[in-house]
């Protein structure tokens, strides 16, 4: 279907899992996980852009969402598509790689080179599969700390991310507060709601109901739960959009048809679109990674980690925050961002909060949103001035 199809082979994907084409750091210090289990050694695959300055004060950590990866501003090695946040990150962009050193790691549990369930378990020489320990967003963040240490960075100038990326930003600010000068959690929440857990569960059940999933051992058996994972993605994708955007984009339009076919083919454009979303996703993502990462998000509850008082997560914080939400995001609605803001106000933290008017739903954070770019630029430039970093080029 897509012209890039020829290199979407399972081989390329397997290669990216175990020998990523990006940089990577092999960490030999054991990582104590929130579950109580320990990961003795692990790999974090990452991309960097721009140059670290002499006093290592210009680093921006970009954290990715559920199905994102380290290719924030460069072509994806499996799909050949442009980076997922090239609208925001690049030379002269709001996150200006001419001024800042941008680090984007693939999360622990991911499938683009960081250790995850598709990686080879050194103890068995087989893919981890379900032997991989269940991880949390906090674990993902703790696993990124050695990467920041690796660059000799004491304090990140900024941590920024949307959705699960925003959760990582919050976890960074809560767990490693002295190492984050400013934080931009976008389209996110301090805890995952019941409805969102429910959607994730539908997705996981779809994967696990696919006979090809084989109790998670599909990789060693040479199988692939494509149908299950595609259905999971289709259901999830609906939650990333909005009713208004779907209606505007597709209405009740038929797909290449003059009339209804009276069958279960994809008559409607919206069906065809979702099927496409499902099948292209399966080409680039590992089903078990999907289970593990959705689980990590379900478990995210920053207040619960701090005596059920969210403000305690940020007590005495010196970090400058800019919280961003979107009017039509029903996955992480504005009220959940406002809860973060209230907790930050309760500790008199330095916080900005903008709600961007958009009908594009949760996915708006990945799209062309000039008002989001303007506010993020303003926040980053003001922070850079406070931090004594060189100003943006004029013009």
């Amino acid at each position: 279907m897509a012209p890039t199809r020829d290199f979407l082979t399972p081989d390329v994907r397997t290669q990216e899992v175990n020998r990523p084409s990006s940089d990577y750091l092999d960490v030999r210090t054991p990582l104590r996980l929130d579950s109580g289990r320990t990961l003795n050694a692990y790999r974090i695959a990452y991309k960097t852009y721009g140059a670290l300055n002499a006093d290592k004060s210009n680093a921006i950590l970009v954290t990715h969402a559920l199905t994102g990866d380290q290719y924030v501003a460069s072509h994806h090695p499996v799909t050949g598509k442009p980076g997922w946040w090239e609208t925001l990150v690049g030379p002269g962009k709001p996150i200006d790689t001419d001024r800042f050193f941008v680090i984007c790691p693939n999360v622990l549990g991911g499938c683009m080179g960081s250790t995850g369930p598709a990686s080879i378990n050194p103890d068995t020489d087989k893919p981890w599969g379900l032997d991989f320990p269940v991880i949390t967003v906090g674990d993902m963040v703790n696993a990124q700390v050695p990467l920041i240490d690796h660059f000799g960075i004491d304090q990140l100038f900024c941590a920024i991310g949307g959705s699960m990326g925003g959760m990582q930003v919050l976890a960074w600010a809560a767990r490693h507060r002295h190492r984050v000068f400013s934080a931009v959690p976008i389209a996110t929440a301090a805890w995952h709601s019941s409805q969102n857990i429910a959607f994730h569960e539908v997705g996981r059940q779809a994967v696990m109901a696919d006979p090809e999933w084989s109790q998670g051992r599909y990789l060693e058996l040479g199988k692939e739960p494509r149908n299950g994972l595609a259905v999971a993605r289709m259901a999830a994708h609906i939650t990333y959009l909005s009713e208004e955007a779907l209606q505007r984009k597709f209405g009740r339009n038929l797909q290449n048809l003059a009339a209804k076919s009276f069958s279960f083919n994809a008559d409607f454009q919206v069906e065809s679109y979702l099927r496409h979303q499902g099948s292209t996703f399966v080409d680039r993502f590992d089903a078990n990674s999907y289970l593990y990462i959705t689980r990590a998000i379900d478990y995210f509850d920053l207040a619960a980690e701090h005596g059920d008082v969210l403000a305690n997560a940020f007590k005495d914080t010196k970090t400058r925050f800019c919280v961003v939400s979107f009017t039509s995001d029903w996955l992480y609605p504005t009220r959940e961002s406002r809860e973060i803001v209230q907790a930050l106000n309760a500790v008199a933290a330095n916080v900005s909060f903008v709600e961007i008017d958009s009908d594009k739903g949760h996915d708006a954070f990945l799209l062309e949103e000039p008002e989001m770019f303007a506010t993020i630029s303003g926040f980053i430039n003001a922070g850079a001035a406070r931090r004594g970093l060189k100003p943006a080029r004029s013009g």
């Binding site: 008199a348 903008v354 003001a382």
Partner: protein, 218 residues
Amino acid sequence: MLAPQGPRAHRVDHLLIAEMVKHGSRVLDVGCGDGALLQLLADTKDVDGRGIEVSRERVNACVARGLSVIQGDADHDLADYPDGAFDYAILSLTIQATLQPKAVLQQLLRIGRYAIVSFPNFGHWQVRAKLLFTGRMPVTENLPDAWYVSPNAHLCTIKDFSNLCDVLGARVERAVAFNASGQQLGTWLPLTVHNLMGEKAVFMLTQTWAENNGVKRS
């Protein structure tokens, strides 16, 4: 985005507030509008400033120019802040538009070591004259909206505000009234004259009960 603003006329109450605020202090501007006061305080007093503004567009414009501002309002969002979180909690030309001016003022006194409040004086002679001679709600340059679209739900006079300060046990550290041409009225003039000639007033307040009751602020 951080390019210096071109020359612009600052509001007289903003200039007075900027004069009251100490260098490097922590400031909350409630109802900060387009951020003009916060910008002035950042430029001239290097304050650690925060703003609250009800209009989403204005909030986003403030953040885009590098100010720390959140969307919210005086009636609902002040309760979130801890005691003594700021050196100055400022409410400039906003108290008359709140639902609960007394509660809002109490919150300001709680979260700021000083509360600075400016408001349009409904006791100004033009306002009185309009009401007396036309028998209708005054519409003046200072109060430009008809009663049915005005955001001003709780207008008061300088005497009224002074009375509210007494009711709350707030000590007036400084009170200044401006006439219609933006000139400060002499402090030697009696309150009655301020109440008649002042078009706007700025009060700087502290809460006395804390000291009286030996309450230690955090």
